[in-house]
């Protein structure tokens, strides 16, 4: 409401961030995991004094450097760019609190990049001992970038004591910091193994290929053994409402007993399980038969898991950017009360400026929709408002909005997924009026079929 709101038709702003993030996560986790992999594999080569492993590493490190220093770095900046466009209030809050933490991460990032280039350019130019030392330094620096950024990422889900004292250290070392760090490192090792499988599959000599394929496959194991432990630890630390969102679902949302989140969780588990089984029966037990195509299949599965997992992490945080502090739509939780008595369209800078030019009730309603709903919905694409409203008529929509406006989870069971609607009575009517223009088709269709209008909300408001 503070800023102009960027309208992204069909996919919505969330997916602009989402697409860039998924690619970035997959690459940056490789940057860290791959760093650990390179250091350990080089140690293996060093101890065995095996030139074949060295040759493999040279090959692999070229791919590594080209991928992480270019695509990794740029998609990282990309997340930043996209978040600043979609969620400027959220990013500004993070930056106002954690600038120096980011600055510190930047220092490690510079060290990491410089070491990556030095490592890559000095193959055969410095002694093997020195080169191994560079590999280890790279590993340490890249882990440190994770150590810092993990603090900011987990802060958004569990700000912990920061909520009380706004002290940066409490924000960084928040309740989910350590379990999340553990999970991420495990995932990184697995991703590193997957990437290295791709390089290994291209080795010509069969026996050495079998050796390397097997070695790389082992990197997939830790996450499956230790992952669940960290996952449970993680789940004990997140807000109860988020857990409810996963397991009980949103009864009234009409998606049945399984919430979308639970489905994503199961999907992610099934995919991971598939990877594990394949890794065990494929490259581990039967490394000779391993081919480039299978390696690529692993990568695709890995990307899918990364995608669903990141999406889940985002969903857990719903409806907040910073849990319990700032809603996804840029409204501070503490401001909701004042807004609902004084009105939304005269509060935020841009929202009120635009409202002065809105001449009809629908236009005002559209503005509220834009500022309070577009953060997660689109009119007719992703999480389509048209579909979700279904056959509700203006009155039913109004009743629905009345629920959305309540702060108490007992009378508003959307509190775990949607921000409390912050409007006054007149604005609520405008919003309902506007929304009823979106789903005209839907209503029309329902009337033809003869379905009864949705009365669920009427029931729950009566309660």
């Amino acid at each position: 409401m503070n800023y102009p709101l960027w309208v992204v038709p069909h996919i919505g702003g969330t997916w602009v961030i989402g697409i860039i993030s998924i690619i970035h996560v997959f690459i940056s986790h490789f940057a860290v995991g791959g760093g650990i992999f390179l250091a350990f594999a080089e140690e293996l080569a060093y101890k065995k004094n095996d030139d074949r492993i060295y040759d493999f590493l040279k090959q692999h490190s070229r791919f590594f450097v080209l991928l992480t220093t270019v695509a990794g770095a740029i998609t990282g900046v990309g997340i930043w760019f996209s978040v600043s466009l979609v969620s400027p209030d959220g990013l500004a809050s993070l930056i106002q609190s954690f600038t120096l933490a980011w600055a510190e991460e930047y220092l490690f990032f510079v060290a990491e990049l410089a070491t990556a280039f030095a490592y890559y350019y000095t193959w055969d130019r410095i002694s093997k001992t020195e080169h191994l030392f560079l590999a280890r330094l790279y590993m340490i620096f890249s882990i440190f970038t994770l150590v810092i950024i993990n603090g900011i990422l987990t802060f958004m889900l569990t700000p912990g004591k920061w909520m009380v004292n706004h002290y940066w250290l409490d924000g960084v070392f928040n309740p989910t910091y350590f379990p999340s760090l553990g999970i991420r490192i495990l995932i990184m090792l697995a991703i590193a193994g997957m990437y290295a499988l791709v390089t290994s599959s291209r080795i010509k000599e069969p026996r050495f290929r079998a050796f390397m394929v097997r070695y790389c496959a082992k990197w997939l194991l830790p996450v499956f053994i230790l992952g669940p432990i960290f996952m449970v630890w993680f789940l004990t630390q997140i807000p109860q409402a988020s857990i409810d969102t996963i397991f009980t679902g949103i009864q009234t949302s009409g998606v049945g007993n399984f919430s979308v989140l639970a489905r994503a969780l199961y999907l992610s588990m099934v995919l991971s399980g598939t990877i594990l089984l394949f890794a065990y029966f494929g490259p581990y037990l039967n490394p000779k038969a391993f081919t480039f195509r299978i390696a690529i299949m692993f990568m695709v599965c890995g990307l899918a898991v990364t995608g669903t997992t990141e999406w889940m992490r985002e969903m857990l945080r719903k409806p907040y950017v910073i849990y319990g502090y700032l809603y996804s739509n840029g409204i501070h939780k503490d401001d909701v009360q004042t807004i609902s008595s004084q009105g939304f369209l005269n509060k935020g800078k841009w929202a009120s400026a635009l409202a002065q030019h809105a001449n009809s009730e629908e236009e005002r309603g559209e503005l509220i929709f834009r500022y309070q709903c577009l953060a997660c919905h689109t009119a007719d694409g992703y999480r389509s408002m048209k579909k979700l409203l279904g056959a509700r008529d203006e009155e039913a929509i109004e009743n629905f909005l009345q629920i959305l406006r309540k702060t108490d989870p007992k009378s508003n069971n959307y509190t775990g997924i949607m921000p409390t609607l912050a409007v006054n009575d007149a604005e609520l009517k405008s919003l309902a009026k506007y929304l009823s223009t979106i789903n005209v088709e839907e209503r029309h269709h329902a009337e033809q079929v003869g379905a009864k209008p949705d009365v669920k909300e009427n029931a729950s408001t009566v309660q």
């Binding site: 102009p4 270019v70 695509a71 600055a103 130019r125 706004h166 940066w168 400026a353 834009r370």
Partner: protein, 397 residues
Amino acid sequence: MELTNLIPGYQPLPFPLPTWLMQLLLLLGFYLHALPMNVVLGGGFVASALFFFGRSDKTSYSYRAAKALAVSLPLFISFAVTQGIVPLLFLQLVYGPAFYTSSILMAAPWLGVLAILLASYYISYIVIYRTLKGEYSTKKASVAALLLLVMSIGFAAIGYIFTNNMTLMLHPEKWLPLYQQAATGMHMNSAEPQLAPRYLHTFLASLAVTGMTLGCFGLYMVKRDEKFSDWMIKSGSRLFLASTLLQIPAGLWYLKSLPPHLAAYFLGGDNLITTIFAASMLLTLLAILFSVIAALIGSKPAFIAALTTNAILILTMIINRHQLRMLYLNPYVKPDSVAVSTQWDLLAIFLVSAVALIAYLVWLSKLMLRAFKKPITNDDSTTTSLTSTTAEIAPST
């Protein structure tokens, strides 16, 4: 409508640093971004032209200079991107209300920067791996010239988009009409009178900095190949000289394109601003003088003098650029109004780490220098092609 009603507020949280320190880090960060960024922006075009002129003879100075530039470009791109993070962070912190807004208005091209950057960055590697490795041929050299041209057009577009955003953020009066036209972030700031001269100014500067870079390559290889080194210093200085002479009318045009009441600050209206502006004019004259000597007789001390003068000159220009932004935004964006709660502990950690990083980078550079003095130990290595090409530019065959 009152324009101040359109300026988003800061978040209800304190700043982690005093404002002056944030401004200082913004300036310093942008300086460190601008130097490599200029080499990227100008270097690609120059390398492309040099490949084109030297395409039929791989021993020609033109070809070798082109190769030296092309091989080092990915490193400069990497520095430019990494160093961009610092000013981005502080720009958002201090001028977020203006900068987020203008970015949202031009969201599509703004995100496009990343797509273009990704493509151009990879092209810079393709040039090395596909056209500079293995057997030389005239055709490969021409392909290199062409690829570098495509890459450079990409970087030039990125710079243009940046200039659009940096100027759009200065004009709150344009925001609402643009947004009302379309909320999908498809705008640019193309009607801005300042845009063309400002961009031209940056572009000419990037050619000048590329000239200095060529000269630095020349200095680096004095011992290995004196003649080539001499040629590099002379041609680099000439490039610098030519673009800096063109900069005089371009700069005047830029000054004239500013609203008169703001231009006045540079011409005596404000002591500090005028002093820095005068200093930059003086430094320009000096740099021209030194580079004339270096261009004519290839004098190394004269080149080094031009180089140093130019480095300070760029800094003064950047300070002036920042002051111009403050002049525009002072009535609207007021970072001083935000409470400050300095995170001393984290600041101390940051400063100590920064010093440690510098020490580490020095150590690493020494290691690299030592590594590249010795001949390579394993000749059939595939991965070291990049670096061996760097070494190849020196020995004349």
